[in-house]
C-alpha cells in the first residue's frame, strides 16, 4: 500500500470532523474522495499530509507511520494542492511553481538544472509555460488552479493529494488535469464533487458522510442509485456510457 489510513479520527474543537476512517491506495493508483460539503474530505487530506495531527489512528506512507517522518522528508514525497490558496505577494507564475522545489533544496545548495527542468516541465504539463512571467494576481481562477497543480508537480512527489483540482476549470482543462494526474503514475487521492469525472478517472472511490466512509471500492460498485440518494439526497439514473464505457450518471429532479 502506498497510502494507508487506519481508523483515523480527528476533531476540531468539539466538532468531530473525521470519525474512524480506514482506507488505502495502492502504488500508482488514483482514489477519488466523494461526499457532500462538510463531509470531511479536505480535513482528511490535511491529515494525510500531516498539516493536522490525528487524534487517534495511524496514517502510513509505504508502511511507515507519517508521524515519524520528518517534515522535510514528507514534503519530498507528498504534494498537496489546497482547495483555496492565494497570496497578496507579487509573485509570477514561475515564482509560484518554483516554490515546489523548496523541499528538494538544501540550505546552501543553489538552484540547479534539475530544479529548472522540473519547473519548466510542470509548467508545460498544465499548459501554462507561455504564461510563466505573468503575475499570479492577474490570473483567472482556473489558471490559478492549474498553476497550483504545476507547483505540486514541480515537487516531483510520489504521492499527490488534490482537493477539488477541477474547481474553476473549464471542461477542457478539467479533463486535461484529471487525465494528466491519472497518467502520471503517481499515487493520488483526489477530492471531487463531479461524480461522472470521478467514475471516468479514478481507479477506486471512497464516499464520505459526516466524517465516515459510507462506501468504498471500484467506481461501479460504489456509485449506485441507492447510495447517491442516501448520501447526496438526489435521484440519479446510472448507465454504462456507450462512448467511453465508464459509468455515466444522470440526475433527475424531484
Amino acid at each position: 500500500m502506498s497510502i494507508a489510513v487506519e481508523n483515523v479520527a480527528y476533531a476540531a474543537g468539539k466538532t468531530i470532523v473525521v470519525d474512524g476512517i480506514t482506507l488505502a491506495v495502492e502504488q500508482g493508483k488514483v482514489l477519488g474522495l466523494l461526499g457532500p460539503n462538510g463531509s470531511g474530505k479536505s480535513s482528511l487530506l490535511r491529515l494525510i499530509c500531516r498539516l493536522r495531527k490525528v487524534d487517534s489512528g495511524i496514517i502510513r506512507l509505504a508502511e511507515q507511520d507519517i508521524a515519524a517522518i520528518p517534515r522535510a522528508n514528507l514534503a519530498r514525497r507528498i504534494a498537496f494542492v489546497e482547495q483555496q490558496a492565494t497570496t497578496d505577494t507579487q509573485l509570477t507564475v514561475r515564482d509560484v511553481v518554483q516554490l515546489g522545489r523548496t523541499p528538494h533544496r538544501g540550505l546552501l545548495s543553489p538552484w540547479g538544472v534539475d530544479d529548472d527542468l522540473a519547473v519548466e516541465d510542470a509548467l508545460a504539463r498544465v499548459d501554462m509555460a507561455h504564461r510563466a512571467d505573468q503575475f499570479w494576481h492577474t490570473l483567472s481562477g482556473g489558471e490559478r488552479q492549474r498553476v497550483h497543480v504545476a507547483r505540486a508537480l514541480a515537487q516531483t512527489p510520489s504521492e499527490l493529494l488534490l482537493d477539488e483540482p477541477t474547481n474553476h476549470l473549464d471542461i477542457q482543462h478539467q479533463l486535461e488535469i484529471l487525465s494528466l494526474v491519472t497518467r502520471l503514475g503517481v499515487t493520488s487521492i483526489i477530492a471531487l464533487h463531479d461524480l461522472n469525472l470521478a467514475a471516468m478517472f479514478c481507479d477506486s472511490l471512497a464516499v464520505l458522510q459526516n466524517g465516515k466512509v459510507v462506501a468504498a471500492g471500484a467506481p461501479q460498485e460504489v456509485l449506485t442509485e441507492d447510495l447517491i440518494a442516501r448520501v447526496f439526497g438526489v435521484r440519479a439514473h446510472i448507465e454504462r456510457s456507450a462512448v467511453h464505457g465508464r459509468y455515466n450518471i444522470q440526475y433527475t429532479m424531484g
Binding site: 514534503a75 492565494t86 497570496t87 505577494t89 507579487q90 509560484v96 523548496t102 515537487q155
Partner: protein, 346 residues
C-alpha cells in the same frame, strides 16, 4: 534554457545594484559626518577616522576630531544599523503575517517600548537598577507578547493581527499619556517626547557596539530562513506542505523581530514607518524572493535612516527635528499608497 540565461543576467544586475547600494550607504554616512552646525570637510573626516582606526597621526583640530569620532560617526552608524534592523523586522513580519502593513510600529511594539521607558523615567520603576533603555526593552517584549496573545485569541487572520496591533498601540499610548499627565513635570514630559518621536541625539559609541551586532546577527538569522519566508506566501498550511517546520520558524523569527525592535527602540526611541516603506520599495526593485529582498531591505533601511537623520538636522536651521518626524513624513504617504494598492488588487 532561457530561464537560466535571464537568471544569470539578473545576477549581474544584482551585483551592480549591491555595489551601488553599498557606495550610496558610504556616501550617506560620509555626508552625515560632514554636515552639521560645524561643517567638516570630507578630507578631515577621512583623516579623523584613519587616526582612530589605523593609528595614523594626521594633525587635526582636536574639536574636529572629537566631533567626527565621538559624535557624528557613532550617530551615523547607529542610524544605519537601526534602519537596517527596523526594515528587516518589517519585511519578516509582512511575510510571516501575510499582511503588507505589518511592521513593529504598526503592531504596537514601539508604543510598548515607550511605555516601558516612561515607567522607568517618571515612575522610577526598577529602583535605579533598570535603565531607561532596559525599561524600553522590557516594554517592547511585553507589547509583542500582548499583541501575540490577542491575535491568537482573535483567530490569527492577518487583518486581525493588525487590528490587535492597533489596539495594543492605543492601550500603550493611553498608559503613557496617563503616566505623563499624572506624574511628570515639564522637563520630564519633554524627555518623553524623545520616546514618542524617536531621536538620535544622545547616541554614543556604546550604542554602536549594541546596535551594529544586533543588526548583523538579525540579518544573518533572517537570511538563514529566506526560503521559509518565501514558502509562507500561500499561508502556513502551504508552507508546512512544502516541508517548512512552521511552528519553529515562527517562534524563531518572531523572537528575532521582537529582540531587534526592542534593541533599536531602547536606543533611539520609537521610529515609525521605516519597516513599512523600505520593504515595499525593495520589493519593487528586486522582486519578492527573500534571498534578494533581505539584503536589499537591510541596505535600503540603513541608507534611508542615515538620510532621514541628515534631513532632521538640516531642515530647520539651528534646530534638530526628531528623526521619527522625518520618517513619518515619508512613511505616512507610503502607508496610504500601500492601502490603496491593496484595495485595488482585491
Amino acid at each position: 534554457m532561457r530561464a537560466a540565461v535571464s537568471r544569470q543576467h539578473r545576477w549581474w544586475a544584482l551585483v551592480a545594484l549591491t555595489v551601488v547600494a553599498v557606495v550610496l550607504l558610504a556616501i550617506m554616512i560620509s555626508l552625515a559626518v560632514a554636515i552639521g552646525e560645524i561643517a567638516i570637510p570630507l578630507s578631515t573626516t577621512a583623516r579623523a577616522v584613519s587616526n582612530r582606526i589605523f593609528g595614523t597621526s594626521f594633525e587635526l583640530n582636536r574639536i574636529h576630531q572629537g566631533i567626527v569620532w565621538d559624535y557624528r560617526l557613532s550617530r551615523a552608524l547607529v542610524a544605519a544599523s537601526a534602519g537596517a534592523s527596523l526594515a528587516l523586522c518589517g519585511v519578516v513580519l509582512q511575510a510571516m503575517l501575510r499582511n503588507p502593513l505589518a511592521e513593529p510600529y504598526v503592531l504596537g511594539i514601539s508604543a510598548g517600548a515607550s511605555t516601558g521607558a516612561v515607567c522607568v523615567m517618571i515612575l522610577g520603576l526598577g529602583y535605579g537598577a533598570l535603565t531607561l533603555s532596559g525599561g524600553a526593552f522590557i516594554g517592547a517584549i511585553v507589547a509583542f507578547l500582548l499583541v501575540g496573545v490577542l491575535a491568537a485569541g482573535a483567530g490569527r487572520s492577518s487583518e486581525r493581527i493588525i487590528l490587535c496591533g492597533v489596539a495594543g498601540s492605543q492601550l500603550f499610548n493611553a498608559l503613557t499619556s496617563y503616566i505623563v499627565t499624572t506624574s511628570a513635570n515639564a522637563e520630564q514630559a519633554r524627555g518623553v517626547l524623545f520616546w514618542l518621536l524617536g531621536s538620535m541625539s544622545g547616541v554614543r559609541w556604546s550604542d554602536v557596539y549594541l546596535s551594529v551586532p544586533v543588526a548583523i546577527a538579525g540579518y544573518l538569522a533572517c537570511l538563514f530562513h529566506a526560503r521559509a519566508l518565501d514558502a509562507f506566501a500561500f499561508g502556513t498550511d502551504a508552507a508546512a506542505a512544502l516541508g517548512i517546520a512552521v511552528r519553529r520558524v515562527q517562534v524563531v523569527l518572531f523572537g528575532i523581530t521582537a529582540l531587534m525592535t526592542a534593541a533599536v527602540v531602547s536606543m533611539v526611541g520609537s521610529i515609525g514607518f521605516v519597516g513599512l516603506v523600505i520593504p515595499h520599495a525593495a520589493r519593487f526593485i528586486v522582486g519578492p524572493s527573500h534571498h534578494r529582498l533581505l539584503p536589499a531591505t537591510a541596505l535600503g533601511g540603513a541608507i534611508f535612516m542615515v538620510f532621514a537623520d541628515i534631513v532632521s538636522r538640516i531642515i530647520i536651521p539651528q534646530q534638530i527635528l526628531p528623526i521619527g518626524v522625518v520618517t513619518a513624513l515619508f512613511g505616512a504617504p507610503a502607508f496610504a499608497i500601500i492601502l490603496f494598492r491593496a484595495r485595488r488588487s482585491v
